[in-house]
Amino acid sequence: MSSPAPPKSPELSDKSKKYDRQIRLWGDHGQALLEAATICVVNVTAVGCETAKGLVLPGVGGFTVVDGSTVKEEDLGNNFFLDNTFLGKSKAFACKQLLQELNPDVIGDYVDESVDYILANRPNFFDSFDLVIASNLNEQSLLQLANRLWDSNVPLVYCRSLGMLGSIRLQIKEHCIVETHPDNRQFDLRLEQPFQALRDHLESTEVTSKVPWLLVLYKYLKAWQKEHGAGRLAPGSYKEKTQLRDAIKADMQKDEENYEEAIKAVNTAFGAGMVPSNLKAIFEDDACEQLHKKNDVFWIMAKALKHFVVEENKGYLPLPGVLPDMTANTDSYIALQQIYHQQALHDADQVYHKCQEYLRQLSLPADTIDDRTVRLLCREAAGLSVLRGTRIADEYEYKNCRLLPLVEDNELQGTLTAYNFALRAYERFLSECGSIPGECSVEQDIVRLKSITSKMLNDLGLHVTISDDVLHEICRYGGAELHAVSAFIGGCAAQEVIKIITKQYKPIDNTFIYNAISTESVTLKL
């Protein structure tokens, strides 16, 4: 998390206090993006409302609920954001009222028309939202909505909650992430080939028991490099690392902490600063090769970063400038920290100037990209990520290249992948029969669901079957939405939406499936 500027008056604002526990995760800049976003919730279901709750509480800017139906008694059993005072009234209005009441900072709105009606009469209605959340659609409505949103470049999060099963499908064209917040970040120290200022410092500082382990390690690394000849920068194999550790150990007088820490660091201190595969893919992306005004400004920064790495920095990334804590006296640690910090600023400055050059070439205003943003991008360079999504409609094409491998060995039985197809067959049933499988009679509907399923798989060119047990379980639910399953999926979906809006952390790519019977989940790229 980037550290915010010190507040003028030390105490935080009221809003800042209210959202404190989450700002610690996505920062004030993430919170600002969330507060500026407006989302649309299509269909009032428990899973839709639970997702919306997970966005209204942290303070999304605004939400609009779309639903053409009225509140019935059976809706009250699973939806916390409806109650009996709204029986017979617009469902969209009712849940908008009860959701908005959660957080006065959020603006709520509703439209009491069905998604089908809106798509038929004013399809551009959805274009103005930052993201659309939908649930409980039949196949036809889902595909119409998904196609419309794909063409308008509005991300769609589609949630399913049926009985003990749930899923989330994210449809997004392109999503560029600077702050991926990797769980185990490797510190990038450049000991193998120190930059000039660091080399000068390391060469001129005496190694005592009071200096950071980095200086200790450098001293022994240099000896190791000399011994192993030109071209060898750092130990690679376990054996070589052990040699280096033993060399440090041999010179220890007593239990000098910095020597101990240097020995421990042998494993993790080397190898950072290179271009990882995710970044290489970004550098080779067409959007990076060929800048375009209309693309995300991320690509301008990515191209500037590439130029810096390839042309100016011998293949190394800009220095992140972040040091781990190391046992040492204050002065020697701070001196080292300053050297890394200054170099990071210097590297980022180079990238920033290249960005400005590209902006001029594209006739974009200079303030499109500021130096703080570039500094952040440089610090996070190793973790940059671009997600290229797929259309939901593609999953319905004959012999889709992403579906085929999933069913290659007909190993569908007992896997969560089977449930994905079963839930889709359920939606086709809704479209084709105009009723819910198992709502009235399990025995009658299971025959129809079976034939719909096998026809669907056949149409997709997939030579697999889904077991009768799974289809029976689907029918047994009779369309039941269980609140706890919806709360689980809603919680997950809300966080995926926050990731997309704040452009931090990596979202799913692209389908999450959850089975509450076995407490298992899986993510598939469909």
Binding site: S3, P4, P6, E11, L12, D14, K17, K18, D20, R21, Q22, R24, L25, E50, K53, L57, P58, G59, K72, E74, L76, G77, F80, E101, G163, M164, I168, H181, D183, T327, A328, T330, Y333, Q338, V442, D469, H472, R476, Y477, G479, A480, E481, L482, H483, A484, V485, A487, F488, G491, C492, A494, Q495, E496, I498, Y505, K506, I508, T519, S521, T523
Partner: protein
């Protein structure tokens, strides 16, 4: 759980409300648990007989109450000793700004009772330690949404102490009260099912809790490098020395935090350390753990589903530990945590503590080990024993001032000097458990000499 009497006609009024739930509870299913009997009795049991205790009305507790109420449960109790703060409102969705300062348990209960008329929540604005066995005995299932490890260990110990054993030393299954435990931290969380005495308990897996970050005192005092070091210095050393408000440090008092912020900033400037922010100061002083609505929703839902499975027998319970995080995509993993054969709490075995040399090991060393060893992690243990002459002797007790003063001199004495023998059993009590633990000393001096 037994399901007996016939349908209550008064419940028929609610029929439509529960249409969805009834499909799941009244129809045959091929994935259902072997002993599941589809019947309207299942919903009736949830609505009228099943009694569930929710411990904690915070981030997880609010979600749990809502989830259970809408999964058909009709009789819930909730315990929480806390009152509502502004920083709760980003996730504890049963509370509003006008509720600040009120009891979480009472406020949450009122909200659920108003919104879901089929559920009655009984609040307890109290500590879990305020209740004894007779209170906990009344519940079919206990579900915890706690942020405190000590409280988890305490309720775990309570449920273990309530187990009854048959004459052949086998467990009386009817004395088991299942405990479902949820925990979250930022984007990570876990949910687990504990059948006390039967599956892994909290103490069996104590090493799963992350150790608390502690900075060495000499770093804080002499060689600070991080902003955290400067904040800790002000908190640990400067506050006591200057006593600025003639009061103990209160992390919720903005004046106190403001004072620490300014002093820490001064100290940081003095050492050229950057990065002191008000938020960081607050985080370090109050040990704040980041929290979001979404993770709490997910973990509470996973817990509520397990309560539902246990109460209705509709599906097998999860075995038994569910891990979740959504930092990078969404990841979950369920595995079976194993019961530890020499668990402090549920193994029924005396705990052995190896002592290398009773003539150099002091009582203070023993206490230190009890606090620091991963398998114990006690907070402030009190130690008593029966001496060779049959008399009970208190070796040390920190919590009662007069006894502390009388026993303090024992701390620096060696076990030999105290007259404690190899194999001597000590009785240990601590805030982490409602019951005492037996610790057996095992001297190794002889073996060492033989080498």
């Amino acid at each position: 759980m037994s399901v007996a009497s016939p349908s209550n006609p008064a419940l028929a009024l609610q029929n439509k409300r529960w249409n969805g739930l009834r499909n799941v509870l009244e129809r045959e299913g091929l994935f259902c648990k072997d002993d599941f009997t589809p019947s309207s009795d299942n919903l009736e049991f949830l609505q009228t007989k099943c009694k569930v205790l929710v411990i904690g009305a915070g981030g997880l507790g609010c979600e749990l109450l809502k989830d259970l109420a809408l999964m058909g449960f009709g009789d819930l109790h909730v315990i929480d000793m806390d009152t509502i703060e502004l920083s709760n409102l980003n996730r504890q969705f049963l509370f509003r700004r006008t509720d600040l300062g009120s009891s979480k348990a009472e406020c949450a209960a009122r909200f659920i009772n108003n919104r879901v008329p089929t559920c009655k929540v009984t609040p307890h604005f109290a500590k879990i330690q305020d209740f004894d066995e007779s209170f906990y005995q009344q519940f079919h299932i206990i579900v915890c949404g706690l942020d405190s490890i000590v409280a988890r260990r305490w309720i775990n110990g309570m449920l273990l102490s309530m187990l009854r054993y048959e004459e052949d030393n086998s467990l009386d299954v009817s004395s088991i009260i299942p405990m479902i435990d949820g925990g979250t931290e930022g984007f990570k969380g876990n949910a687990r099912v504990i059948l006390p005495g039967y599956t892994a308990c909290i103490e069996c897996t104590l090493d799963l809790f992350p150790p608390q970050v502690n900075y060495p005192l000499c770093t804080i005092a002499n060689t600070p490098r991080l902003p955290e070091h400067c904040i800790e210095y002000v908190k640990i050393i400067q506050w006591d020395k200057e006593n600025p408000f003639n009061a103990p440090l209160d992390g919720d008092d903005p004046q106190h935090i403001g004072w620490i912020y300014e002093r820490a900033q001064e100290r940081a400037n003095q050492f050229n350390i950057t990065g002191i922010t008000y938020r960081l100061v607050q985080g370090v002083i109050k040990h704040i753990i980041p929290a979001v609505a979404s993770t709490n929703a997910v973990i509470a839902a996973a817990c509520a589903l397990e309560v539902f499975k246990l109460a209705t027998s509709c599906y097998d319970s999860m075995a038994n530990y569910f891990n979740f995080n959504d930092l990078d995509g969404i990841y979950s993993y369920t595995y079976e945590a194993e019961k530890s054969d020499n668990c402090l709490a549920c193994s029924n075995m005396p705990q052995l503590l190896n002592i290398e040399d009773p003539n150099t090991t002091t009582l203070e060393d023993v206490i230190k080990q009890l606090c620091e060893l991963p398998r114990f992690q006690l907070k402030s243990p009190a130690l008593t024993t029966i001496m060779a002459d049959g008399k009970q002797r208190t070796l040390y007790m920190a919590n009662v001032k007069s006894i502390e003063e009388a026993t303090r001199k024992n701390l620096t004495q060696s076990l030999g000097e105290l007259g404690l023998q190899d194999g001597q059993q000590l009785t240990i009590t601590d805030a982490t458990s409602p019951t005492a633990m037996t610790l057996q000393l095992k001297y190794q001096a002889n073996e060492v000499e033989m080498l």
